[in-house]
């Protein structure tokens, strides 16, 4: 099936980005149609015909003012609405206890879980290559780093993109709304291996995630037990 539009969105704030996208699409399409239609109509109506002369006018101040103010108003509104969501998405990370580090390097993602002690750079940290596992409906905080050049952490289905810059730690967040497997490409030219540099985001149910985390020694079995027991109890017979 040929795709014409945005890919699937499985993100809480992705909904709002898509809403903004749609709003801008409507405004720009209406503008496009009106402007191009006017252009075509004028070209037909005012084409050269013998005996007819052009209208001699240097302009119209009232029109100038009108078509300065109207676009300005539309753009200010777009800016104000956009800024609200920008603040929510990029300016800060909502409180959460789920924190991973993603270190970009030529040419893959190094995913680091802090392990049962909840602290990074300790002996129980668990490092994976390219595969990021998270539970659904959980705010995930990602600290982005880079070992070499600028890369860009891109999750198309979560409408998240953030450059990973060497020498900096940059925090981003997302909350997935649906389980599944989502591609995680690099979106900033980073060298000859840029094309194909990608990982996968696995969004799992809470129970599945905990099972996986225990397997990988990211979480302790004891901590996971109550949740798993509850999940087993919830399962329909």
């Amino acid at each position: 099936m040929l795709r014409w539009w945005l890919p699937e969105d499985v993100s809480t704030y992705g909904v709002h980005i898509d809403e903004m996208f749609h709003a801008i699409y409507i405004v720009t399409t209406i503008t496009f149609v009106l402007v191009e239609l006017a252009l075509i109509v004028f070209l037909i109506r005012y084409r050269h015909r013998p005996g007819r002369r052009a209208v001699y006018t240097h302009g119209n101040t009232a029109l100038e003012i009108a078509w300065t103010i109207a676009p300005a108003i539309v753009l200010v509104i777009l800016g104000v609405v956009s800024n609200q969501w920008w603040g929510v998405i990029k300016a800060s990370v909502p409180p959460t206890d789920f924190h991973v580090q993603v270190t970009a390097k030529q040419f893959n993602w190094e995913i680091l879980y802090s392990g049962p002690d909840g602290k990074f750079e300790t002996a129980d940290d668990v490092k994976l290559d390219n595969d990021l596992y998270v539970p659904v409906h959980k705010i995930v905080r990602v600290t982005l780093k880079s070992r070499d050049v600028i890369h860009s952490f891109f999750l198309p289905n979560l409408r998240l993109k953030q450059d990973a810059v060497p020498g900096r730690d940059i925090d981003v967040w997302f909350e997935a709304t649906k389980t599944g497997k989502y591609e995680m490409p690099c979106a900033e030219l980073c060298g000859f291996g840029h094309s194909g540099m990608k990982g996968w985001l696995f969004v799992q149910s809470d129970a599945d995630y905990r099972k996986w985390a225990v397997e990988k020694r990211i979480a302790l079995a004891d901590d996971a037990a109550p949740v798993l027991a509850q999940a087993a109890a919830d399962e329909p017979r």
């Binding site: 903004m20 496009f32 402007v35 006017a38 070209l43 989502y182 030219l189 060298g191 094309s195 194909g196």
Partner: protein, 606 residues
């Protein structure tokens, strides 16, 4: 170049210079203009060829034909596939390893293709043609003077640009290949050879652009001085044609912006060659510093690319609507506003860069604001057409394409101005679509309009008008065929600068668009042959041009076609603005600037 009899006579008391002084080291602004034009047109062929190679790779990565090829691929394969069932890039078997392998490219080469395509188009095509050629040719003629303020500096400005061009081309022949960090050359990738595998290619890229910057500074100094000091009597600022306004504003932008690029390039070269750490974090440097410096230059630079086309479009639209430009002062002031604002929007290229998100807010506001003067200009162009007596000559067709395509490019910019939407579309093909609608849809159609319009004045011969129209229509159709779908794949999440889109599962449903686009570029490339043939044929065998074939009002049409050394027999005196077309109490629908208005019309005129 051909010269008319009149030009020869005017030549009479001027000593005959040899071939070198006439064609290689000339101080005549018109010859220097032609030199910039030839540099730009030659480079456009190269830049276009690089684009063709990029597109071939994107449609059929590594030359592979998919298992069940669709109709488009089968059609292309029927001509271009080889004995092994692969689709190597046509005409590239001569490119040696390790760059290409029998017409199949690797990712390193692909990265240098995208880098060099953009570098060449921005710095060696659009700038030399719109600024170097048309600035040089038109400024003295349109303001009514004999040459530029500094003819020797002018000559040097081309020689320096040519040297920069040779150095840039040399980068293709060094070991490690040419620059491959994108035309934006983000550090640290660009700042250390071991990150990209490119050593001398990237060094030469930096050196070439430093030298080209010197050429642009020379050009700016000349243009600014000439416009301020050498206008003919009666040529007040608000009687200047908008083409001159645009070139004047552009010269100021370049004067102020280029030193920033030059400094950044110097720092980059030092990081690469001298062990400094301006942009390298391990030495205490900041990668983001490169981006700030580059885009502080880069944003004014993109307005340098579009403003001359805007000025030219205004003049061409007015001439062929036989109407004054609608809102002349608004048009001039909006160009000044764009120029001022262009200094405070650069961060919109860096929304996702890791800079403080608060800056994202400020740059979003300024970017929304800068859309307003461009909108004003679009409405004024429509106003110029309204009520006109429109002649669909080939310059007019190109100017109309400029307006209609620039609208699309400008509207797509609004998506990326919104910071949250930009989170998704940054570094996707939506950006590539935007770039090409403004630079090709805008600047290149503007450049074609300028060539079609001023060719008679420049070369004393008419271009073949039917051939020009065929070229126009084919280019217009194929341009949209190639670049409109890029909006669609960008919205689909297709990243920029990736060598093989089939490596990504989420891009599989949109790979067909890549094939469609590439088929379009075959058409776009073939369409340009009409222009090439017309250009060269007309140079030598075009109909001899009269002084003012378009019945236009501006002063360059007072001089012969082509103008001799010294341009005018006598310096004209200017009586009114350049857009006095279809005056009600006149029989003719035009009135050159050097002819006075009738008594009735004179009341209330600038």
């Amino acid at each position: 170049m051909s010269q008319t009899k009149t030009a020869h006579e005017a030549h009479a008391h001027h000593e005959e210079l040899g071939f070198i002084r006439t064609y290689v080291f000339s101080t005549d602004h018109k010859m220097i203009a032609r030199q910039f034009l030839f540099l730009g047109l030659m480079m456009m062929i190269l830049g276009g060829a690089l684009a063709f190679m990029i597109r071939w790779e994107l449609a059929w990565p590594e030359g592979k034909i998919p298992q069940n090829p669709g109709l488009l691929t089968r059609m292309v394969a029927s001509v271009f596939s080889d004995a092994e069932g692969n689709m190597p890039v046509p005409l590239t078997k001569w490119i040696p390893e390790p760059y290409m392998y029998g017409g199949i490219m690797g990712p390193e080469f692909y990265n240098s293709l995208v880098t060099m395509h953009a570098t060449i188009m921005v710095f060696f095509v659009v700038m030399p043609i719109l600024v170097g050629c048309f600035g040089n040719f038109l400024i003295p003629l349109m303001i009514g003077t004999r040459d530029m303020a500094f003819p020797l500096l002018n000559m040097l400005s081309f020689s320096v640009a040519a040297v920069a061009g040779v150095i840039m081309l040399a980068g293709f022949f060094v070991e490690g290949g040419h620059a491959a960090a994108g035309w934006t050359a983000y550090a640290p990738l660009s700042a250390q050879a071991h990150w990209s595998g490119v050593e001398w290619g990237q060094h030469l890229w930096c050196i070439s652009l430093i030298i080209l910057g010197i050429s642009s500074l020379m050009v700016s100094i000349n243009y600014i001085t000439t416009v301020i000091n050498m206008r003919a009597p009666g040529m007040t600022y608000f009687r200047l044609p908008l083409t001159i306004w645009s070139l004047f504003v552009v010269a100021i932008l370049l004067l102020l912006a280029l030193p920033v690029l030059t400094s950044a390039l110097g720092m980059l070269l030092f990081d690469r060659m001298m062990g400094t750490s301006f942009f390298l974090p391990e030495g205490g440097g900041q990668p983001l510093l490169w981006q700030h410096l580059f885009w502080f230059f880069g944003h004014p630079e993109v307005y340098v690319l579009i403003l001359p086309a805007m000025g030219i479009a205004s003049d061409v639209l007015s001439t062929f609507s036989r109407k004054p430009i609608f809102g002349y002062k608004a048009m001039a002031y909006s160009m000044i506003a764009i120029a001022f604002l262009s200094w405070i929007v650069w961060g919109h290229h860096m929304f996702q860069s890791g800079m403080n998100p608060a800056l994202g807010t400020t740059f979003m506001i300024s970017t929304m604001v800068i859309a307003v003067p461009s909108a004003i200009k679009t409405f004024n162009w429509l106003g110029t057409l309204w009520g006109g007596d429109i002649r669909f000559t080939s310059p007019m067709l190109h100017a109309l394409a400029f307006v209609s395509m620039f609208v699309i490019g400008g509207l797509s910019g609004i998506y990326m101005a919104s910071t949250p939407v930009d989170i998704f579309i940054h570094d996707t093909y939506f950006i590539v679509a935007h770039i090409h609608y403004v630079v090709f849809g805008g600047s290149i159609f503007g450049l074609f309009a300028a060539i079609a319009y001023w060719f008679p004045k420049m070369f004393g011969r008419m271009m073949n008008e039917p051939l020009n129209k065929i070229h126009f229509w084919l280019t217009f159709v194929f341009f949209n065929w190639v670049f409109f779908p890029m909006h669609i794949i960008g919205v689909g999440g297709h990243m920029r600068r990736i060598y093989n889109p089939t490596q990504y599962e989420f891009l599989a449903p949109i790979q067909w668009w890549n094939e469609l686009i590439t088929v379009g570029i075959i058409g776009l490339a073939v369409s340009q042959t009409f222009f090439v043939i017309n250009f060269f044929w007309s140079l030598f065998a075009g109909k001899v041009a009269e002084r003012n074939p378009w019945h236009a009002n501006t002063l360059e049409w007072v001089a012969p076609s082509p103008p001799p050394h010294g341009n005018f027999a006598a310096i004209p005196t200017v009586h009114h603005g350049p857009y006095e077309y279809s005056l009600p109490d006149m029989q003719e629908d035009w009135l050159p600037q050097d002819r006075p208005l009738g008594r009735k019309a004179a009341v209330g005129h600038a």
